[in-house]
Amino acid sequence: MRRAFLALVVAAGLLSSVAIHAHHSFGGTYDVSKLITIKGKMVQVTLRAPHSFLYVETEDADGSTKQWVIEGATAAQFARQGIDSDAFKIGDPVEVVANPSRSPNSTHARLIKITRTTDGKSWGSRTGETVN
């Protein structure tokens, strides 16, 4: 029990550093009180500093497509969470839980959790969501 609690504390500390390391203000860029779900396919992964970006293409009912820009941690932090260049293949279907941008009509969002729906594997920034 104590070991589990300790692990939880360590995990919380590690994961909280994701937000702390933000180069710009996530709270200013995104509405951190809201969550949206984006279902689509991965079209590009760029693991970078200061932040990485996952590009997800969604299809509307009328067949038109939209590209979402999902901002996440720096490449080094993603690597610690198990997201590396092999985590996704282009075209992988994904489901993303994210904070929406505050900017009107923006398709930018901040990554909270991403699931590769082919096998259910997920990565997230909240406690207990590190690697499924």
């Binding site: 937000a19 180069h23 203000s25 901002e71 505050r102």
Partner: protein, 632 residues
């Protein structure tokens, strides 16, 4: 020997032994040992760190109304769309509020073994801050501003004091509260092992009414290694680098969010010097926090909102050209500043190509500056010319006087073409090519410049002799071992603007398309427009490459002001986009020019760009007219 004498001899002996134990040369110890690696302690301002500052939260900041308006209309998403801002490092006015660990080293003069400077590296900064201790003077007012700025330091007792100027525009909070390029930052470091306390004060004549004093604590971390930080900007969507998210005044829906969430009176959330003092607390406790999160329409009235009006009410200053100076820019390109419009020269074995000639009354000083550059030239380590004139170095420099081979004019503005006649008639003007001057390039500009000057009956010796018509003009030969390319920027400040790119030196003379601290002098009657001006700035930033972390690399010399880089031009472009969109919204509402001027659409940028008499009113009118004419 009696007892007294024996005691005296013993004392002398002890003294001699102790003196012998001391080094032959006296050592001077610094009051503090600042060197080593330091870990930032995240123990305060948690909300500021995680999730980060909310829009509209200005608590604890002695900001003025201009800063408030600028932050109220700011959208933090600009940091993800603008690739020039993604890798923007923090300046010393915010850095200690970041979480970066830092390393401090000494730079020691190898001959005197004295500490001449400290070098500070942070995890997320471009390079290394150098804090000079050798008493060197500050650089010229025309020198490049950087994220680190220019810093000097001195020990005051047990405190190390750092003063930093020449900073780029930045922020004091990550929600758009700006600091000006005129800001000074003073840091005080004091050591209480293993803690290093850094108190840092931002003095900003443009956006703060009082010094902003904050502090942060670092802890000695001897085994800490600064990790690499290969910051790579990313254009997230095609064309997004030209998008500048922002809110029109009165339309930001988030300005009460912080007060509502944290149950704080809105008057306190809006900040200002009054709210920083204990006396305000008695008032604050009587005020209710916002009951809901709603859009507010702030009113801005303090002295900072009248800067442009006051400047416009002044008589235009009589230009004085008694402080003309030459600065090295890059490669073999130099800036001659203080002569009206900036004059840019490439100087080398082939002679001198001059971009613009300054004001008429400054010609003597421009020629003197050219002589000074010429005399300071040294033969390059590698041949500077690949042309038939490749061995001209000795020939050219055997002459006591420099040879000005041609002038390129970036526009027809009088403070850029005013010296054309004096330079052309000077014995320094020795054409490149034919003996017959009529066959050689003398004064080159876009055809529209020549046409406008002829139409306005400008004295003929001022009028360019040679013109080009296409989008791009490349000088027919390498000059000082580099290609010189001229790009026409249609409908920017006028319809004849050119920027001149010295390719090997990677320096661009931008003319009045870009000015570092005044609004662009758009002349609608001469074919200028705000949209064309923004297009020109986009093109300038696309031509430029930053060295690392959004600074350095391609040097851009403005028509007026200091040597700049792509980040400076990017800021300038963003400012113009914001103002363009505001005035466009007013035009769409059917507002008259008088109403637009009364609404002060540039008010938050006036502290930085609106201090020249008459310039702000003229600029607003030019933007309004070009947007109205576009609508027709």
């Amino acid at each position: 020997m009696n007892t007294v004498n024996r005691s005296g001899a013993a004392a002398v002996l002890i003294l001699l032994v102790s003196l012998a134990a001391r080094p032959a040369v006296a050592q001077e110890n610094s009051p503090l040992d600042l060197t080593g690696t330091w870990r930032w302690i995240n123990h305060e301002d948690e909300r500021d760190r995680n999730p980060g500052a909310f829009p509209g939260d200005y608590r604890g900041l002695p900001l003025n109304d201009a800063a408030r308006m600028r932050a109220d209309t700011y959208d933090e998403e600009v940091n993800t769309t603008a690739s020039l801002l993604q890798c923007r490092p923090r300046t010393p006015g915010y850095q200690p509020k970041g979480l970066d660990p830092m390393r401090i080293d000494k730079i020691i003069d190898p001959l005197t073994r004295q500490v001449v400077a400290y070098r500070i590296s942070y995890e997320k900064t471009a390079g290394e801050r150098v804090i000079w201790l050798d008493g060197r003077p500050a650089p010229s007012q025309y020198a490049l501003h950087s994220w680190e700025g220019f810093s000097t330091g001195q020990f005051r007792g047990d405190t190390f004091e750092i003063t930093t100027t020449h900073l780029k525009e930045s922020y004091v909070r990550r929600n758009g509260v700006a600091t000006s390029f005129r800001a000074t930052v003073i840091e005080h470091m004091s050591l209480e092992e293993p803690y290093l306390e850094v108190t840092f004060t931002v003095i900003d004549p443009d956006y703060l009414t009082e010094p902003l004093v904050r502090s942060a604590t670092y802890m000695r971390a001897p085994t800490l290694q600064l990790p690499p930080y290969p910051c790579q900007p990313e254009e997230n969507q095609a064309g997004e680098k030209y998008r500048v998210p922002h809110y029109l005044p009165g339309e930001n829906p988030y300005l009460t969010e912080s007060g509502f969430k944290y149950k704080t009176p809105q008057e306190g959330v809006r900040g200002g010097a009054d709210t920083l003092y204990p006396e305000w607390r008695a008032r604050g406790v009587t005020l209710a926090p916002p009951a809901t999160q709603s859009t507010i329409k702030p009113v801005y009235t303090d002295a900072s909102t009248h800067i442009a009006e006051r400047a416009d009410a002044q008589r235009p200053r009589t230009p004085v050209y008694d402080k003309v100076e030459a600065l090295h820019v890059a490669g073999n390109v130099y800036l001659i500043a203080g002569a009206g419009g900036n004059v840019v020269v490439s100087a080398g074995g082939d002679g001198i190509v001059m971009v613009d000639s300054g004001a008429t009354a400054a010609s003597d000083r421009v020629r003197a500056a050219v002589r000074g550059i010429h005399q300071a030239l040294r033969p390059p380590e590698t041949p500077e010319s690949a042309s038939p004139f490749g061995n001209t170095w000795q020939a050219t420099h055997a002459l006591p006087e420099p040879m000005i081979r041609m002038i390129i004019n970036t526009s027809s503005n009088p403070d850029h073409v005013g010296g054309n006649a004096n330079i052309r008639m000077s014995p320094l003007f020795r054409l490149l090519g034919y003996r017959d001057p009529s066959l050689s390039l003398q004064v080159l500009a876009h055809a529209a410049v020549q046409r406008r000057m002829v139409e306005s009956k400008a004295p003929s010796p001022l009028v360019p002799t040679d013109t080009y018509l296409s989008d791009t003009y490349t000088l027919y030969r390498f000059f000082n071992n580099q290609a010189v390319q001229i790009f026409h920027m249609p409908r920017a400040v006028t319809d004849g603007d050119s920027v001149v790119w010295f390719r090997r030196s990677d320096a661009i003379a931008a003319g009045d398309v870009y000015n570092s601290d005044i609004y662009p002098p758009i002349d609608v009657d001469k074919g200028g427009s705000i949209d064309g001006e923004i297009d020109a700035l986009n093109r300038l930033t696309d031509m430029s490459v930053t060295e690392f972390m959004s600074q350095g690399g391609t040097m851009i010399i403005p028509g007026h002001g200091w040597i700049s880089d792509a980040a400076d031009v990017g800021y300038y472009r963003d400012m113009l986009m914001v103002i363009r969109d505001r005035i466009q919204a007013m035009v769409d509402k059917g507002m008259t020019l008088a109403q637009v001027k009364a609404a002060k659409p540039t008010m938050d940028y006036d502290p930085e760009y609106g201090r020249e008499p008459g310039e702000t009113s003229r600029f607003v009118e030019a933007v309004y007219r070009s947007l109205k004419e576009k609508k027709k």
